[in-house]
């Protein structure tokens, strides 16, 4: 029974010391500690959110980079293809031009050759004609020295004419 009876003096001192303790602790201990812990908590939350944001940003940047790379690659491919096409075209053109030129030159050369040949043939013909005239003259002069010779030829030709 004795230990179950509250003692007013002890109740008084317990209340007094507890309230004093509570007030002092609240003011000088719990306030800074809890504030710091809360600050840290918030800081951690913020940091986590920042990290999350940074991660998202990273992902986004990575995506952008990837897209840019892809674009660049495509562009490069396009450029290469274009360049190749251009080269082909140029080569083709050059080939064509060269061919044209060549054929033109050839044509010209051929014409020249033809002309030269014709000229040469004409010249040769003239020369041959002149030569043959010369020869003929010389032969004639040789043949027609005597009158009877002249006579026999005349008659021969005339005979031929008759037969015609």
């Amino acid at each position: 029974m004795g230990i179950l009876t509250p003692d007013p003096g002890l109740v008084f001192w317990t209340s007094l010391s507890f309230i004093t303790l509570l007030l002092i602790m609240k003011r000088y201990a719990w306030k800074p500690i809890l504030r710091s812990l809360k600050l840290r908590e918030e800081r951690i939350t913020f940091s986590l959110r920042d990290a999350e944001l940074a991660r998202e940003e990273m992902v986004k940047m990575e995506e952008t980079r990837r897209q840019m790379m892809e674009k660049a690659r495509l562009e490069r491919d396009g450029l290469i293809r274009e360049a190749r096409a251009l080269k082909d075209e140029i080569v083709q053109e050059a080939k064509l031009a060269a061919q044209n030129e060549a054929s033109k030159i050839m044509e010209k050369a051929r014409e020249q050759i033809n002309r030269e040949r014709k000229a040469a043939i004409a010249d040769i013909r003239n020369q041959v004609g002149l030569l043959s005239l010369d020869i003929a003259e010389k032969i004639l002069r040789e043949e027609m020295h005597s009158a009877e010779k002249q006579q026999s030829v005349m008659e021969k030709y005339l005979k031929n004419v008759e037969f015609n």
Partner: protein
């Protein structure tokens, strides 16, 4: 539960066994001499000794022994006695009572220390009893610094000495540096109480209002429990195993719960919505009584657990003196060490349960209904 694991770890292994044997050897001569002395004296009264130890006292006993000439020597720290009687305040040291032999005059009356209680008597110092041996003399208004009060104040000082430097470090360095020194003890405790006890029971937006109160109550009970477990001078007062102490703390919880109760809470108590009238008539008184039984159970739980622990330890030690043989000493010392380990766990557990149930009751009173 971590603490219990540690205890087991501590208790396991050969080292513990060696220590235990060493303690037994150390205690043997003490127990032996005590036994010898007791044989000369009257019968050893275990119940009276236990009641004396778990009760309050006006002096802080440090040591008591019988010297070579057979004189009983008591070394104790006298504590101030503060008496308010008939508009007169009297403050004196408890050594003035000379252990109950001397009367201390106050006004026209005299004060006498009788069985660790101060009574008003006449000049002859007579104590009157009725048939059932209870004292009839009046007790003055007594605000003495008793052993329990002194121990409680010591616990307050310990708490301030641990927490204020830690808090100063927090406000000086901020929360973003690694904890150091006292901070390393403070921080896990504070986080545990805040997150696992308070925030688990009270809605988060309202929890912060009650955190200082519940943290203080947790540590106050914990430190007093541990101080009560220390068997020698600065401890051993059993403040948290005293009904006045637990009554006061439970009363604080009761007051705080009811002044912060929401409309829903009072409606649940006095209207009990959603039940037919006859059941309401039945439920309202039950709910109303429930308001008081909750803190009453808090009060009794702490009191009974701590007091029971002390009684068991003291009983186990008393076995040596009751049996008057040294050979039970190893057994009773071993058992009391085991109980000490258990009591160490219980001192944490009871502080935890008191705080948990307090926050549960506060949570019931303030939480929004989901």
């Amino acid at each position: 539960m971590m603490i219990f694991d540690r205890c087991i770890k501590l208790a396991g292994g050969k080292r513990f066994f060696k220590h235990f044997l060493a303690i037994c050897c150390l205690l043997m001569p003490v127990a032996l001499s005590a036994g010898e002395n007791l044989e000369e004296e009257s019968e050893f009264d275990a119940a009276a000794m236990i009641m004396h130890h778990i009760g309050d006292s006006y002096e802080y006993s440090i040591l008591s022994f019988t010297n070579g000439r057979g004189e009983k020597i008591k070394v104790s720290l006298p504590l101030p006695v503060i008496i308010w009687h008939k508009g007169q305040l009297k403050v004196f040291m408890s050594s003035s009572f000379k252990g109950g032999d001397e009367l201390v005059p106050i006004g026209d009356d005299y004060l006498r220390l009788y069985h660790e209680k101060v009574y008003l008597t006449d000049a002859s110092g007579a104590i009157n009893h009725d048939e059932s041996q209870s004292v009839l003399n009046a007790q003055p208004i007594n605000l003495s610094i008793t052993k329990n009060v002194a121990s409680m104040m010591l616990s307050c000082l310990i708490m301030l000495a641990i927490f204020i430097p830690a808090a100063r470090r927090y406000s000086r360095k901020g929360a973003l540096v690694a904890p150091k020194g006292a901070q390393s003890i403070v921080e896990p405790i504070v986080l545990f109480v805040r997150d696992d006890i308070i925030r688990a029971q009270i809605d988060k937006d309202k929890a912060d209002r009650f955190t200082p109160f519940l943290l203080t109550i947790f540590l106050f009970i914990l430190i007093n429990n541990i101080l009560g477990l220390i068997p020698f001078f600065p401890g051993g007062a059993n403040a948290s195993g005293n009904i006045s102490f637990t009554l006061t703390l439970a009363a604080f919880t009761f007051i705080l719960t009811n002044i912060s109760g929401s409309k829903h809470y009072w409606k649940d108590v006095f209207v009990v919505p959603g039940t037919p009238l006859p059941i309401k008539l039945l439920l309202v008184p039950i709910e109303f009584i429930g308001l008081f039984t909750k803190p009453f159970a808090l009060m009794l739980r702490l009191f009974a657990n701590i007091t029971a622990g002390h009684i068991i330890v003291l009983s186990l030690i008393s076995i040596i003196f009751v049996m008057k043989t040294i050979f039970v000493a190893p057994v009773s010392v071993f058992l009391s060490i085991m109980i000490y380990c258990l009591e160490f766990l219980v001192s944490f557990l009871q502080a935890y349960i008191f705080t948990l149930l307090s926050s549960l009751f506060i949570g019931l009173a303030v939480n929004e209904h989901h």
